[in-house]
Structures are given as C-alpha cells and as structure tokens.
Amino acid sequence: METVIEVKNLDLVYGDFLVMRGLNFNVKKGEIFVIMGGSGCGKSTLLKTMIGLNPPQKGKILYSGLSFWDEDEQARQDIMRRFGVLYQGGALWSSLTLGENVALPLQLYSSLSALQIQDVVLLKLGLVGLGGYADFYPAELSGGMRKRAGLARAIALDPDVIFFDEPSAGLDPLSAKMLDDLILELRDDLGATIVVVTHELASIFTVGDNAMLLDADTKTAIAQGAPKDLLANSKDPRVVKFLTRGEKQGAGK
C-alpha cells in the first residue's frame, strides 16, 4: 500500500522543552493511524507539527514524498489544502453559522457557484447527521454536535488526509461511538487516510488499523502496530499497562 505520510527522526519541542525525540513512522493510504499516549506526552504537539502549526526541532515529515517543513510557504499551503482537521473542541468559527463554517473552505478553494456550495454544505452536514442545522450558530449546539459540525468542515474539500485531535474527549459514550463510526465511514466510503490522536481505549480498538504509543518518560514511541496485536503480543509492561488501563500485567511497574 502507498505511503502517504512518512515521519523521519522527528524531534518535537513545546516552548523550550523537548517533548519527543527520534520519532519514525509511516501512515499508509486509506488506513486509520492512531497516535496514543497518556495526557501530556506530546500527542497534540506531534499533531500540530504534522498539520503545519508548529515547526519541528529536527527531522522530516513527508507527504507523498514532499518534505513538508523544507518546502516554501506557498508549497506548504498547497500541501495543507489536502488536509482536513477536526480539533478537540471542534474549533468552529463562532461568528459563522454551521453552514457558513462548512462553506468557507469551499468559497476559498473551489470554483463552485454559491448555489452549488450550498448543496455541498447540506450534503456534508447531512453526512455527519446535522442536515437541518445549517443556520445554527456553534454556541447553540451541544459539544458532540459541534464536533460533528467540525468534522463536516474538515471534510468540506474531500481531503486526502483527515486529522482528528482527541475526537471522543468530553463526549458521552453514545456520541463518542457515533464519532468513531463516522471515522470508519470516512475511511471506507471516501477512502481517506486518517490520523487520530487519542487516549480513549474504546476508540483506539474500534477505529485503529495501526497505532503508535508515545511515552512521556522516555520521550519516544515505545510501540507500533495494530492495537489488538499490541494488546495480544506486546511484552512491554508500559504498553500492556496503557492498553488495559493498568488492569493487566505491567500495572504498577
């Protein structure tokens, strides 16, 4: 399978602190890759570096062979247009309605007419189960609905790669399950490559084709593989402890 994202010897800093060092991983086309780890281990910092918000201290991120941080601003913008990002809280622009939020990327980067954009907006909102909410403002919605609306905006331009930052955070189990199902549908129906940052075990085992576990103590990735394989075969007590919430071997070590 074609490699869409290649990360090589990546060192990350948050402010003056080294967060992660020597990260190496690949994300294949059409797979759901989960970046997992405890709170504060650097998952979100890694995501921000991957989506172009924080430059890395060292190393490379290649998108279909193009070294993202070595490109000039314009080329980076072109690569970023292939991304869709769902932020932790949805990050909807609060002064715009849901419809306007989803329409904005289309107005910017498509040559569709206003009527065509309206149709696409309704389609995308419908895909996430918010068909009738185009005229609502983000403040009028629940947390789960805001996340789904954020997802509708993230997929507005049919991106090649969709990034999810803690998709289940702050959601009730049913809303979290609904979002996990949406992630699977996006992979299956749109063929998107998906990168999910999360520490929610239920989501990790439901959606993850492949995963990487970050460890705050060693500042490295300590495991890579399918989540179920890691659970079944990993001998590393830290991995087992994380994947079983400390209930199996390795707990307390």
């Binding site: 989506i51 918000l53 970023m80 932020y87 809280g89 990050a91 622009w93 002064s95 910017l108 980067y109």
Partner: protein, 375 residues
C-alpha cells in the same frame, strides 16, 4: 484545636496505647502529635504504639495527617507502629499517604543571577519588538492584498465590526463628550469671570474639544470598549483553536480577522471624533447659556470664529492615528494571548494599558510636532 479526646495506657510497660474518642475531624481543628511525643519522651523503653477507638470516635483526613506524623516519629525512634485497633479504611488511606508524598516533585525556583536577569529582559524586549514588527508586517501585507483586491475576509463580519465600533459607541461617546464640554466650560468660567471675559468660554471649549480633547476622550473610551473587546475575541478564538483552524485552511488571520478590525476602527475613529467634538461643544453651550447666562448667538459665533479648519484636521489626524493604535494593540494582545482564562484576562488588560500609553505618547509627539511647524 481538636475536640477529640486522647488518653494513654501502657501495655506491659513497652507498648504505648492511644485511646481515642470524640471528634477528630477537620471541622474540629487539626490534632497535634505533641502529647504523644511528650509521652514517648517521658517513658523510655517504648517499643510500639497501638490504638483503641471508642464508639463515639469520628475521624476524617485530619486524623490521617495525625497518624502520618505519629508514624514518622515512630520510624525515627525505631518504634513499631500498628493501626490494628482502628477502622480498616484508615489503614488503606495511610498506605496511600507515603506513596503520594514520594511523588511530590519540588518546584524549581532558581534565582537568576543579576546580570542573567538583565540579559533575559533585554532578550525579552528584543523578542517582543521583533514580534510586534512581524505583526505590523503581516497587517501591512494584508492591506496590500486588500488594495489589490486579493484579501480574503467576510464583508458581513466587517460591517458588523463597523457597527460595533461606530453606531454602538455613540451613546457612551455622547455622554462623556458632553460632560467634558461642561467641565471645560465651568473651569473656563472661573478664570475668565475675573476679567469679565466669559464669552471666551466658547473659544476654550471649541478649540480644546476640536484640537485634542474630542480625539483623546474618544480614544480612551474606545480603548476600554473596543480595544479590549478585540483582544478578548481573538484571545477566545486562540483558546478555542479557531485561529489554528484558519491557519490550517491556509487563511491568513491577519487578512481574515485583523485587517477588518483595523480598517473598521480607522474609519470610525475620525467620525467618532467629529461627533465627540460636536457633543463637547454642545455641553459647553448648555452650561454657558443655561447656567452662566451667556448669549446663545454670541456663543455660537465665537465658537465658529475660534475653531479654525487646521484644528479640525489636527483632531481628525489624531483620531486616525489613535484608531490604528487601539486596533493594533487589541489585535496584537489577542493574538499573543495564552490559551487560558487568565491569559484572556491579561490580554484584555494589557490591550487597554498598551493602547492608552501609546495614545498619550502619540499625543505628546503630535503636539510637539505641531508646535515646531506652528499649527
């Protein structure tokens, strides 16, 4: 002080038994281990400490902290410490306590040497200067794209900001300007009455309002009102990752968020200044004719004669400059905001302080320049 009762007994002269009764809860005060310490000091050869609790014994974390102290003392003196006579939950909590205590990481408060701290501050000033210049550069580039018709921002957002900076501020500007005009008239009247020249109140109020007071008062109001609101809006957008979402979409925040705000305030500030001038003159007129008994027509004519066109231009230029200062301060502080509620509070405060300081400095510079060129 704890209202719990503590009595002592000695088992085979070697075990100190603590008999507990009454209230050993936080609400009754933290118990002291001094009494136990005194017992241990006065009886040599104690090898163990044990407990017996009565029926009315009530406890909470205050008692656990008491036990924690006793356990440390026992450890130091090599005395066996057992809580067998106490409720089983206490043993569990006591087991947790040392584990938690070991996890406390001392907060590093390294005092920076004097020269290092000066160096850090100089570097801080340099970084802030570079960051402000970079921010101004982004705004200039956004305006360049705007002039070329390439800037991306929503007209509806721009018009809403214009409405908020302009029409919505009229009430407050009216009130303050009228009051300033009235105050100027009263102050002028006290001095001019001594020379029988009260009619010159019209000159004082007119020139002071149009030349400087209208612009400054409007600017100070708008710093607190609109500048703070810009900082809070952008700060919250920063905290909610809305600005990150714009960046990943390839939209420049300078174009989409900052330029409409700067543009709206730069357009509205001179207009508000003209309005404040009129309101201030009206305030002076009300006091002069209604309270001080001056002739309305004469007052009006004197105002027209005294206020020259160059005064009006000067006021308008100041309004324009203050508009830039307020908008840039508010937007800069908002964009630099930390992602926390404290950060948003600090951003709004510092937006107002920065704007007012810059307004006073700008007024001093403009006045000095006008003095030199004779305007």
């Amino acid at each position: 002080m704890s209202s719990g009762k503590l009595t002592f007994d000695y088992l085979e002269s070697k075990i100190l038994q603590l008999k507990l009764s009454g209230d050993w809860q936080l609400s009754a005060g933290l118990p002291s281990a001094d009494e136990v310490l005194a017992q241990l000091d006065s009886h040599a050869g104690i090898t163990g400490v044990s407990f017996v609790a009565s029926q009315d014994f009530k406890w909470d974390s205050a008692f656990i902290s008491f036990l924690f102290k006793l356990r440390s003392i026992s450890k130091e003196r090599n005395i066996r410490f057992t809580v067998l006579g106490l409720p089983p939950q206490i043993e569990k909590l006591l087991k947790l306590s040392p584990a938690q205590a070991e996890k406390i990481i001392p907060h590093k408060t390294v005092e920076e040497p004097f020269l290092d701290s000066i160096g850090s501050r100089v570097i801080g000033v340099k970084n802030t200067t570079l960051s402000v210049l970079s921010f101004l550069g982004d705004i200039v580039l956004a305006f360049k794209r705007f002039i070329c018709g390439k800037a991306f921002f929503r007209k509806d957002d721009f018009l809403a900001i214009v409405q908020r900076c302009g029409a919505d501020a009229l009430g407050l500007v009216s009130l303050i300007s009228i009051l300033v005009g009235m105050i100027l008239a009263f102050i002028g009247a006290i001095q001019l009455k001594m020379f029988g020249a009260q009619i010159y109140i019209a000159d004082i109020v007119g020139i002071a309002m149009v030349r400087v007071m209208g612009a400054i008062m409007t600017a100070i109001l708008m710093s607190g009102r609109t500048g703070a609101s810009f900082a809070a809006e952008l700060g919250i957008m920063q905290a909610n990752e809305e600005i990150d979402a714009l960046k990943t979409l390839g939209v420049s925040p300078a174009e989409f968020l900052i330029m409409p705000r700067v543009l709206a305030l730069v357009i509205m500030m001179p207009l508000l200044t003209i309005y404040a001038n009129l309101m201030g003159i009206a305030g002076g007129f009300i006091i002069s004719t209604g309270v001080l008994g001056l002739n309305p027509v004469e007052y009006f004519n004197h105002t027209i004669t005294a206020v020259k066109l160059n005064n009006l231009w000067l006021g308008l230029i100041q309004g324009f400059v203050f508009g830039i200062i307020i908008a840039v301060s508010g937007c800069y502080r908002g964009m630099q905001c930390e992602r926390s509620s404290t950060g948003i509070g600090e951003a709004t405060t510092s937006a107002v302080v920065t704007a007012i300081t810059a307004i006073v400095i700008a007024t001093a510079i403009i006045t000095f320049v006008c003095q030199i060129i004779g305007v």
